[in-house]
Symmetry: C2
Subunit: 377 residues, 2 copies
C-alpha cells in the first residue's frame, strides 16, 4: 500500500506538521476532525463547518448503517453528496459504538451481532461488512479497520486477547478493502496502557501494512495523565512516514499534549457536545455561558475570529440564548467551539513550523485554569 | 402624526403594494415579518433570516421584559444591537402574551398585573409602561399600542367593552409615546367579528391618529372563513394612506386572502414553528418531511430558491434529519419556510403591480390541497 501522499514539512521534537493530500483536498496536519455523527455535524450547516477551517469530517458507521442505512446513502449518491460535504470524510469502523451504544448479542471471531439502540432490530458487523459499508456504500475517503475494544480497566489477558483479535480483524479488513487509489485504509493499534502489548500491536499492524495508523483504546476513562504516559511511547512505535491518528480525543489540553508527542490527527464530539450544553472553549479552558457573570458582558468570545459566532455576538447575548434554551445558542456555541479547536490546531501547526512547539505548549498549559474548567460556574 | 413615508405604488382591486420607508430601511409591502420571540428568530442566525428577504422582524415585548428584561437590553445597546439585526423591528405591546401565557392576577382600567410563566415573578403592564419598554428601552422602530383582548367566542357586551377599553388605552399609549421622528406608533382595531364594533373601533382610532393601523383580535380560533368575512370590511374602515397590519396571521392561504382584501403587513410564528416540527411549506400546502415517501426523494424543496436550505438539500436528507431529531433539520426547515413565505409575499407584490392579483389568488387556491394539509402524512 502506498497511501495518499503524506508530506511532513517540519518537525519539532516529536511533533510534526505537514499535509495529507487526498483526491478530495489537502488535510493540514496536525488536524482536528469535527464529528458528523449521523450525516450532520450536530446543529451546523456544512458551510458553517467549512468556515471554521476544517479540512475533513468524521462520519459514524454505526449510526449511518442503522439510519438511514448505508444502502440508502449509496442510492442517494454516497455520504459526501447526501450531507453536502465535498472535502474528505473519515469513517470509523462502527465497532466502538456497537460496543458502547447497542445491546450486544454476541461477539465471535467471525462477527459481532447486536441490536439497534433505536428500534431493537438485529444487525451484524464483521471486518468485511465494515469495509463494504465504509468504502463501497458510504464512499469514505479514509476507512478504519474493525477492531475489538475493551473497557478499561481490563485484565492483561483480556487486553492482549482483544489486541490480537484486532490484529486479525485488521488483516481481514485489509483483505476485504483490497487496493484502492482514491481511498485509504487505516489500522488501529490496541494494547491498553501496556508498553509490550502496544509494541506487539504496532508490529502486527506494520506487517499487514496500512495507509495510516490510529491509536485506539485511549480516552476511555483512563484519565489525562495515564493517556499522556501511553502517548510517551505509542506514537513512536508506528511508522514515522504515515499519519498517526488518536481516536476520540479530546480536550484542548489533550490535543496539545498529543501533538507534542507526535500525533497528526484527532476527532472528538467535545466541541459540539459542550456547545449544545452552553459551554464555550477558550484559551483559559471552558466557560459556561449560563453563568450570571456574563449577563451584561458585551464582549464577544473572540474578536479576532474569522467566524461570526465567535466574533460578532456578545457573551451577554449568548448568555441570554443559553438561559432561554434557544436553539440559536446551541448553534452559535457549537460553531464557536469548532472554530476554536481549528484555531488551536492552526496555532500548533505554525508553532511546529517555527520550531517553537515547546514554548507554545508551556504557554498553553500556563494559561489553563487549574482544572481546565470554569471554576466560577 | 405623520409617520414614516408610505408610498402605495400600485393597487389592484383592494390589494395594494408599496414601500414603508423607515430610517433603518425600506419595508416592501405587503410584508411578512418573521417573529423573533425572545431576541432570536428561533433556530436561525440573522444572516440566514436576512437571506430570505425579510425587511423587518417582530420582537415580543412580553418575552423580552421578563428575560433578559428590557432594562438589560437597553444597557446592552437596544434590541437591534443585542440581536444583531440592523433593519427595522416592530414590537408587540406585550398584551397578547400576558393574556395567553402568564397567570393573570388582575386587569383594571389602569394596568394589567400578572405573574411570569418563567419564574412566577410579579409584573405589571400599562399603556405607559408598554411604551417605555418598546420605544425607550428596546428601541423598536414600530411600536404597538397596548390593547385588551378577549377570547372568541365572546358576548357582544364583552367584545364591546374590550374594544372601548382598547381605544382608551390607545389614547394613553399615544400620549405616552408623544411625537417621535424615528419611531412610529400603530393603533389596533378590535371588535371581534362584529361590523358595527369594528367600525366604532376604527373611528375611535382614526380620531386619536396613529402612524399605522393593525387589525387585532383575529386568528384567535374563529376559523379561516369567519376571518375572511371580517376582512371583507375591516381593512376598508382604516385610513387608506397608512399601513394596515393583520396581527398574528398566518397560513399562506390566509396571507393571500388578506392581501387580496387590502392588508399590508403580517407576522406569524407558523413558518418557524412548523419548521421545528418537520413541516415544509410549498405551493401545494404543508408537507411533513417525516413521511416515508420522502426517504429516497433526491429533489430539493425548491431548486429556484435563493436560499441554501430550500435549494441545496434533498428531501431525503431532510427526512433523515427529521427522523433523527437532528437540530440541523429544525434549522433548515425553519429557514426554508421563512424563505417560502417571503417568496409568496414577493409574488403577491409583483402580481399587484402587474394588475394580476385576482388571477394569482385563483391559481394559488387551485394549487392548494383540499385541506391545505399533507393528506398523505
Amino acid at each position: 500500500m502506498a497511501g495518499f501522499p503524506f508530506t511532513i514539512a517540519a518537525t519539532d521534537g516529536k511533533a510534526r506538521t505537514g499535509v495529507l493530500a487526498t483526491p478530495r483536498g489537502d488535510i493540514r496536519t496536525p488536524a482536528f476532525m469535527p464529528v458528523g455523527t449521523a450525516g450532520t455535524v450536530k446543529a451546523l450547516t456544512v458551510e458553517q463547518v467549512a468556515a471554521t477551517g476544517a479540512d475533513i469530517l468524521l462520519g459514524n458507521t454505526y449510526h449511518l448503517m442503522l439510519r438511514p442505512t448505508a444502502e440508502r446513502v449509496q442510492r442517494l449518491g454516497g455520504l459526501h453528496r447526501f450531507m453536502r460535504w465535498d472535502k474528505p470524510i473519515l469513517t470509523d469502523s462502527g465497532g466502538f459504538q456497537v460496543m458502547s451504544l447497542s445491546k450486544i448479542a454476541k461477539v465471535t471471531e467471525d462477527t459481532v451481532t447486536f441490536q439497534s439502540h433505536i428500534d431493537g432490530s438485529r444487525h451484524s458487523l464483521s471486518p468485511e461488512r465494515s469495509m463494504e459499508i465504509q468504502a463501497d456504500l458510504l464512499g469514505s475517503d479514509i476507512v478504519m479497520q474493525l477492531d475489538e475494544l475493551v473497557a478499561l480497566p481490563a485484565t492483561p489477558q483480556r487486553a492482549a486477547d482483544a489486541m490480537r483479535r484486532s490484529a486479525r480483524w485488521g488483516q481481514r479488513s485489509k483483505n476485504a478493502f483490497g487496493e484502492r487509489d482514491r481511498q485509504n485504509l487505516f489500522g488501529i493499534q490496541q494494547g491498553g496502557l501496556d508498553h509490550a502489548l502496544r509494541q506487539e500491536s504496532a508490529d502486527r499492524l506494520r506487517e499487514i501494512g496500512f495507509d495510516g495508523y490510529a491509536i485506539g483504546g485511549l480516552a476511555v476513562g483512563e484519565g489525562h495523565q495515564a493517556m499522556c504516559e501511553v502517548l510517551d511511547f505509542a506514537p513512536g512505535m508506528l511508522p514515522a512516514d504515515r499519519p498517526r491518528y488518536l481516536m476520540g480525543v479530546g480536550k484542548p489540553i489533550d490535543l496539545v499534549e498529543a501533538v507534542y508527542r507526535g500525533v497528526d490527527m484527532f476527532d472528538c464530539v467535545l466541541p459540539t457536545r459542550s456547545g449544545r450544553h452552553g459551554q464555550a472553549w477558550t484559551w483559559e479552558g471552558a466557560i459556561n455561558l449560563k453563568n450570571a457573570r456574563f449577563a451584561e458582558d458585551d464582549s464577544p468570545l473572540d474578536f479576532t475570529s474569522a467566524v461570526s459566532a465567535s466574533r460578532d455576538y456578545s457573551k451577554a447575548y449568548l448568555h441570554h440564548l443559553v438561559k432561554s434554551q434557544e436553539i440559536l445558542g446551541q448553534v452559535l456555541l457549537s460553531w464557536h467551539n469548532l472554530a476554536f479547536f481549528q484555531v488551536l490546531m492552526s496555532e500548533m501547526r505554525a508553532a511546529i513550523a517555527a520550531g517553537t512547539m515547546t514554548a507554545f505548549r508551556d504557554a498553553f498549559l500556563a494559561r489553563q485554569r487549574p482544572s481546565g474548567r470554569d471554576t466560577s460556574a
